[in-house]
Amino acid sequence: MTATENPAAQQADQTYRPSTLQRFLPFVVAAVVPFILGATTDDLNFWWKAAITIAILALVARLAWKWTPRGELTHREDMRLWRTPSDRSWAALTMFGLLVLPFILASDFTPPMDFPWATWFAVVNLVLIFAMGAAAFNLLVGYSGQISLAHVAFLALGSIVGGIVGVQWSGGNMWLALPAAALAGAVVGAISGLPALRLKHLYLLLATFGFHFVMMLVWREYLQEYFGFVGIRFKGVNSPRIASWLHWLPGIDPDENGEFIITGQFRWYWVLMPITVLSILFMVNVIRTREGRAFAAVRDRDVSASLLGINVARSKLMAFALSSAVVAMSGVLASFYIGSRGEDSFNVQTVLNYAIIIVVGGFSSIQGAIFGSAFFWFLPEWFKWAREELWFVRDIEFLSDYPSEIDLAIKGFLVVIILMFKPDGLAGMWRDFKNWLSRSLARRNP
């Protein structure tokens, strides 16, 4: 049946037509950014890079076009990870960016206006770690509706497991610690989720907060018992390594001892990026499964969910276990990346930081966690840069006198403003922007 014969299909097709342009949008944006940057720099190499970038983007765009389904979405298509062509092109663009960006940052690129590129590299790594933890937190709190303030307890759990398995037992084997932490996180997470079977909302929030304090006691005891004054050292002799059988991979060159020690921002990026991307894709995938949709059903109305044949208890515990496992893994990554975890690493402020991240990023969307953690870590750096470089900011003495305090105030104000006016957060704004742009571009072209 062709689109013209069936009115319903025609309607579906019509809602689709604008998206042919929509699919180009990411590439247009991607092409614009280098030009903007290029306009502010004298670096000739930059134009080459920009040209190559655009060429590759054009290629990807051509492929995206080719993959575009015509007409209605079938159920199979609807269940795809990237359903629409625009989804697909954004995903392609993100992957491309993730792969190319570090090379740009690590090369001798001369940035305009003393831009602190190397710092941003460190920030990107932290964003990856936090995005993973925040996405898992969002899966639990936003998507599954199980309000929990215990996520930092699972970061601590990850650190403990990392300390036991990764440092005490194996002397710096992060690869052993990661699955161990996931396992421990799942088990302890399910246990911590038990109150959710009886409690809801406020009462669940308080119960999980209690769990946080109990976990902190465990953490402090462990720290003092085994590591004395300085906290666990994950760096130095305990730095993780890449297995020797992986050394054939391009770009992974062992040092003179035949070892590849993960150290420095560039190398860490290549470890953190795949793990984060995979774990976030994993969580997005879970949401699409029957199990994942049960989470949302339980969130919306658990009584009717149980009438639909969903095992509510199982679903809640699943959500807790899944989220905690990923958070614990991000705890391991953070420990090894930062290099040490001490008495102040898991305080209440950290709990609040994660809350800020998911609010600003956008509640109940996995994407929001990425936006949120990027914002959380980039804002201070951007603000620092603005204070130093931008004339209209530089002249305000008040801003330079209280930099960290104003960072904090901005974050607070943003949380309030976003919750008041844009409860969907940055992810929602981004979606609105995309919709607005494609709609306003499409309006003249019925």
């Binding site: 614009v32 590299f121 004054f229 906290g231 921002q265 930062i338 001490g342």
Partner: protein
């Protein structure tokens, strides 16, 4: 169709305009950073001094010149030096003074022409009591700013996390505000605070002198429940027992505690049962105040206190209950401007120049101030080798330095590089600054270098 693209083009153009507007303003891209010797006494901004550096060079006096080393924070007009610590967060009240001291010193030094024809570019970074921030800040300082050294490094486990990188980069760190074992292992830490073990010895000596011989001392420790608190308590215990005194127990106070009733109950019963006649105290000034208020509340006013350098902050005496603070001493390795020292006038002047009036009476300010001064000396000494780099600076630091009387003469010629200097302080009500109970020399015996016990 065309309209759509037109719209897009307008958006793009607007973006580009905005970006260009931002970019044009401050486009001092180092397009031609000639490795010239910079003009000497000149205030640096020579208009487009790319082609003709010659006239300036002629007038150069016999001052040392070194080539630029942008990878090590030495550019044609500045020497970059970093500071990391907590300017906000629970430990900020002691650490921020440290940064202010360094900043004040560099303000003065720059007013007087800087060093080697360059200005000091002092870059303090706020860790906010958070190891993640510290990781970013360290990257910024070492990879973007490429500082030649750090004149401060806060937080015990923050220095732990950075130690491997500091060694790899051969980055000298002058005067980290914490003294923990980890800093004894690194060749890059130049510490001008006495080690915890020495401070414990000093405390034991002071206790002995007060109660008529250390063998008469019955000591109770009160520590913040953090690893460094445990460490200090263990050193005190060791020192007191070695001298023949009695160490009863260590009481722990939770960070952020607002009252310490239970600890005071235990202290009271230890006083009654075991005759405790001295208390050693560890923690931030805030925690110290909480303990002192607790003692005042239950009426323990006749047991003197001696605390570690975090406690040796003015606020302990100005804000604390007088009946307890009268008997309180804090151990520190520095003198403030109200003491009869060479640097008094300069510290006061620099403090007001930097906008930190009154802070020259604070021990941590003096510490930061001296860190700046030592760095200045080391830079000039390193320049004698003909190049200024992290390596040459590290080598230059392995020697002795003038301290203008702020602390004992520094001699870092033998590893481990830390101070052999300390005294017990209390507030001088007349001047509002900290005054040592006895000169540094009085306590010199306490610095026997014997510590480093295994704990935990």
């Amino acid at each position: 169709m065309l309209n759509r693209w037109l719209k897009l083009a307008v958006v793009v153009f607007a973006f580009a305009l905005i970006a260009a507007a931002c970019g044009n303003d401050d486009d001092d891209t180092p397009a031609a950073p000639e490795p010239t010797a910079a003009p000497t006494e000149a205030p640096a901004p020579e208009p487009e001094a790319t082609e003709a550096p010659a006239p300036a060079e002629e007038e150069a006096p016999a001052e040392m010149t070194v080539p630029d080393n942008p990878d090590n924070g030495v550019t044609s007009d500045s020497i970059r030096v970093g500071w990391m610590g907590d300017l906000t967060g629970p430990t900020a009240s002691s650490q921020s003074f440290n940064s202010h001291g360094s900043e004040a010193y560099f303000e003065c030094a720059n007013r007087d022409g800087g060093a080697l024809g360059r200005m000091f570019d002092y870059l303090p970074e706020d860790d906010q009591f958070n190891a993640d921030n510290a990781a970013i800040n360290f990257t910024k300082l070492t990879e973007d700013d490429k500082v030649i050294a750090l004149v401060g490094l806060g937080g015990s486990h923050i220095s732990t996390q950075l130690q491997p990188d500091i060694e790899t980069l051969n980055l000298p760190v002058i005067g980290p505000p914490q003294t923990i074992d980890i800093q004894l292992e690194g060749d890059q830490y130049f510490n001008n605070l006495a080690h915890y073990g020495d401070q414990a010895d000093l405390a034991a000596g002071h206790i002995g002198a007060t109660v008529g011989g250390i063998e008469n001392a019955v000591v109770m420790g009160i520590s913040l429940e953090v690893p460094s608190g445990t460490e200090f308590a263990a050193y005190v215990e060791q020192s007191v027992i070695k001298g023949g005194g009695t160490y009863v127990n260590t009481l722990y106070v939770a960070p952020g505690a607002t009252e310490v009733t239970a600890q005071m109950v235990e202290l009271q019963s230890a006083i009654d049962d075991q005759g405790v006649n001295y208390v050693t105290l560890h923690g931030s000034p805030g925690a110290g105040l909480v303990v002192m208020q607790g003692m005042a509340d239950v009426g323990i006013t006749d047991v003197p206190i001696i605390g570690i350098h975090g406690i040796a902050a003015n606020s302990i005496w100005t804000e604390g209950p007088p009946e307890v603070s009268d008997e309180t001493f804090g151990i520190h390795s520095f003198l403030t401007a109200n003491n009869d020292i060479e640097a008094s006038a300069m510290m006061e002047e620099c403090a007001s120049l930097a906008g930190y009036d009154g802070e020259h009476l604070n021990l941590n300010f003096a510490h930061g101030f001296l860190n700046g001064y030592v760095f200045h000396q080391a830079v000039e000494r390193a320049a004698e080798t003909g190049e200024l780099s992290r390596e040459s600076l590290t080598e230059a630091l392995k020697g002795s330095f003038d301290t203008m009387g702020i602390t004992c003469p520094i001699d870092w010629s033998a590893f481990p590089y830390h101070s052999q200097c300390g005294a017990a302080f209390s507030l001088d009500a007349a001047s509002g600054g900290m005054l040592a109970a006895n000169p540094f020399a009085f306590y010199a015996d306490s610095f026997d270098g014997e510590y480093g016990i295994e704990i935990g």
